[in-house]
């Protein structure tokens, strides 16, 4: 076990896969010599050279298109989109081309590729550099979607994404890059589509993702110690495939569901989770399903405003406490 930061674990995951498979190539803006604007790809250029780690122009459509064309002809590209907000400038390539091609061609074309991107708030970057857009990706049939919350997970889920035969979007959280955690030594590969129960509990289930996971865990600890409420915290980790079994089993036990999500309220992943449980877990529910979300607004930039906008530990504690009365 080594202690790595989340950003180091990203680089370690990519390096592990590039070392294993010559077909894995990596492209994006400033990822090479500069090591990425979040320094999450430091060392890859030095180790694998400019043939496999390629700096691109500011041309997100070309980046994603190139990854797609390369994937359909035998490579296993990893493309970086610097901020997930920039999915806007290449959304056609992601949502209309990559997601649909296997289906439309009746399986003739496979697209084993990964799109990595920095997602989420906390850096006071304002509304166009702080979005959580995992719900954009979840809404598109044909994309697999993961959003790891720890260094160990991000490394091993990137590895799983690279090995997966389908397109996978990996949402890395900006505010987690500096977080440290134990990462097992040697090769690690996770499984897409498996949630993790990080904190067992019996009074309610809290489903969270990415940066919301540590917050949900902290809230659970406080709810336990301050209010005697026992929360089961699930790190969904993967939105597609979605581990509905773990989720439904937990709600069967706790009879109450909270979702904690960073994307804006309407049509977020929390709505999907809530709807699934409102249909399939309905008879197990003892109370309304409660979504704790960022309000349906763009993100303000000032530190004070940003902090008050995305779900905080306080807000989780407060909401659960109030509604569990």
């Amino acid at each position: 076990m080594a202690e790595l930061t989340y950003r180091e674990a990203v680089a370690a995951g990519i390096a592990q896969e590039m070392a294993r498979d010559e077909r894995v190539v990596f492209l994006g803006e400033d990822i090479g010599a500069a090591g990425g604007v979040f320094k999450a790809t430091v060392g890859l250029f030095e180790r694998f050279g400019p043939r496999r780690v390629r700096d691109t122009p500011i041309s997100e459509q070309a980046i994603i298109g190139a990854a797609m064309g390369a994937a359909m002809t035998g490579l296993r590209p990893i493309a970086e989109i610097m901020f997930s907000d920039f999915f806007g400038v290449c959304w056609d390539m992601i949502a209309n081309e990559i997601a649909k091609t296997r289906y439309m061609t009746n399986g003739q074309i496979s697209l084993p590729l990964v799109i990595r991107t920095a997602n989420g708030a906390g850096s006071r970057f304002g509304a166009q550099h702080s979005q959580s857009v995992e719900n954009w990706a979840m809404a598109i049939p044909g994309l697999k979607v993961v959003a790891p919350s720890t260094p160990a997970d991000v490394k091993a889920l990137i590895a799983a994404a690279v090995r997966d035969p389908d397109p996978v979007i990996v949402f890395e959280h900006k505010s987690l890059y500096a977080v440290k955690g134990e990462v097992p030594d040697g090769e690690t590969v996770d499984t897409l589509g498996s949630a993790k129960v990080l904190h067992p509990g019996k009074d309610c289930t809290i489903a969270a993702l990415a940066l919301m996971v540590p917050r949900a865990l902290e809230a659970a600890a406080r709810l336990q110690s301050e209010h005697g409420i026992s929360c089961e915290v699930i790190d969904l980790r993967s939105l597609v495939p979605l581990d509905t079994r773990t989720l439904l089993a937990s709600v069967e036990k706790t009879a109450r569901l909270y979702t904690v999500e960073e994307n804006p309220r309407l049509c977020g992943w929390g709505a999907e989770i809530a709807s699934i449980v409102a249909e399939e877990g309905f008879w197990n529910l003892d109370a309304p399903i409660c979504r704790i979300t960022t309000p349906h607004i763009p993100l303000p930039a000032a530190d004070r405003l940003e902090d008050a906008t995305i779900p905080s530990v306080d807000r989780i504690v407060e909401t659960v406490r109030r509604t569990m009365d």
Partner: protein, 368 residues
């Protein structure tokens, strides 16, 4: 096994067929036996010229048949014919190797056929039948036959140009000398993806040849009214450090020569090309379009330069016997008839297809 070995093994085991081979294996090849026709033995040669003629006819007759089937209400969705533009598809396809890649648009029937995809697969796709190249899942705008190097028809303007870059990058990376051809219309030159792809290809020196089929219209609007330069592709080549190249897109031989030169440069690692082929579509933009926006007489002028007509005249003037040409015509007609019957006889796709092949595991599940 490294990439180079993998590639060798794949090439050895390859089941790719090519338009050339499809033609050669055809029952009528007897007609194509060498004859002493010195005038046709120039850089192109009599064998290729006959192949070209056959291919031009095949594209023309298959699309005319598609139109007939539409009138019979057997084509359910839209369809975009390239009647009149066949020389571009044929001229480029004849310059390609069986392991090269083609990317085209919704107006992609000809390009897909030209790489060797079966006529019945194309007609069947238009009709929503199981025998269609994607069994009806893609539809007329998404004809794809990977087996023949036809890497897809793309229905959103401009999207395939970056994808073509990727295929070319892959060939470059794998160290093959495959080239990629990417076809699109004049209207496509004004969308962002065009610009990104051209710059990207130039900077990475990718083996990709971009081909703008300038048929004077983007859907119903004359291209000149929405474009800052006269030649929407050629006048922009310099913006990517590329040569300005315009070719008569109705002259299959001219297209073939231009294509061959560009492919040779690309194969040799000398980077991409951008070629503007001047041509004209005889029909409307899509089946819904009677093309009334065209000035009177424009179509007639272009019909005088019908690529099939001028190619046939050239062959005759080069001394190819009428009877041989007539036999190719009859044979192609017969093959189109057979393909039509096959498509008509094919059932609609089974409903089970709906829940197939979203993922590589063959299924569509998003949950456990």
């Amino acid at each position: 096994m490294n990439l180079r070995e993998r590639r060798k093994r794949r090439d050895a085991a390859s089941a790719y067929s090519t338009p050339q081979e499809a033609t050669e294996n055809d029952s009528m090849t007897a007609l194509d036996q060498p004859r002493p026709l010195s005038a046709a033995d120039d850089d192109i040669g009599r064998e290729k010229r006959l192949r070209m003629f056959r291919l031009l006819l095949e594209l023309r007759l298959t699309e005319k048949r598609a139109y007939d089937l539409f009138l019979q209400n057997l084509v359910k969705g839209t369809s975009h014919l390239s009647l009149g533009q066949e020389a571009v598809a044929a001229g480029f396809a004849l310059g390609m190797r069986r392991d090269d890649y083609t990317f085209c648009t919704y107006r992609g029937h000809a390009h897909t056929l030209a790489r060797g995809a079966p006529m019945s697969g194309v007609l069947g796709e238009l009709m929503g039948r199981e025998c269609g190249v994607t069994a009806g899942k893609g539809g007329s705008m998404h004809l794809t036959s990977v087996e023949h190097g036809a890497m897809g028809s793309y229905a959103i303007v401009g999207a395939h140009l970056p994808v073509a870059c990727g295929a070319a990058w892959s060939a470059q990376y794998r160290g093959t000398d495959q080239v990629t051809a990417c076809f699109f219309g004049d209207g496509t030159t004004n969308i962002g993806a065009f610009h990104e792809a051209l710059n990207f290809a130039a900077v990475w020196k990718l083996p990709v040849v971009f081909v703008c089929e300038n048929n004077l219209y983007m859907e119903y609007t004359p291209i000149g009214t929405v474009t800052a330069v006269e030649h929407p592709a050629a006048d922009r080549a310099a913006a990517y450090g590329l040569a300005r190249t315009i070719v008569d897109g109705n002259d299959a031989d001219a297209v073939f020569r231009t294509a061959s030169a560009a492919f040779a440069r690309a194969r040799a690692g000398q980077g991409p090309a951008l070629i503007e082929a001047m041509t004209y579509r005889h029909s409307g933009h899509s089946r819904a379009d009677p093309a009334q926006y065209r000035p009177k007489g424009e179509l007639d002028e272009w019909l005088k330069r019908d690529p099939i007509k001028i190619y046939r005249e050239r062959l005759v003037s080069l001394g190819f016997p009428e009877v041989d040409l007539g036999a190719i015509e009859a044979d192609t007609e017969r093959r189109v008839n057979e393909a039509t019957e096959a498509a008509k006889a094919s059932p609609p796709p089974p409903l089970t297809l709906i829940e197939k092949d979203l993922w590589a595991d063959g299924g569509v599940a998003w949950r456990n």
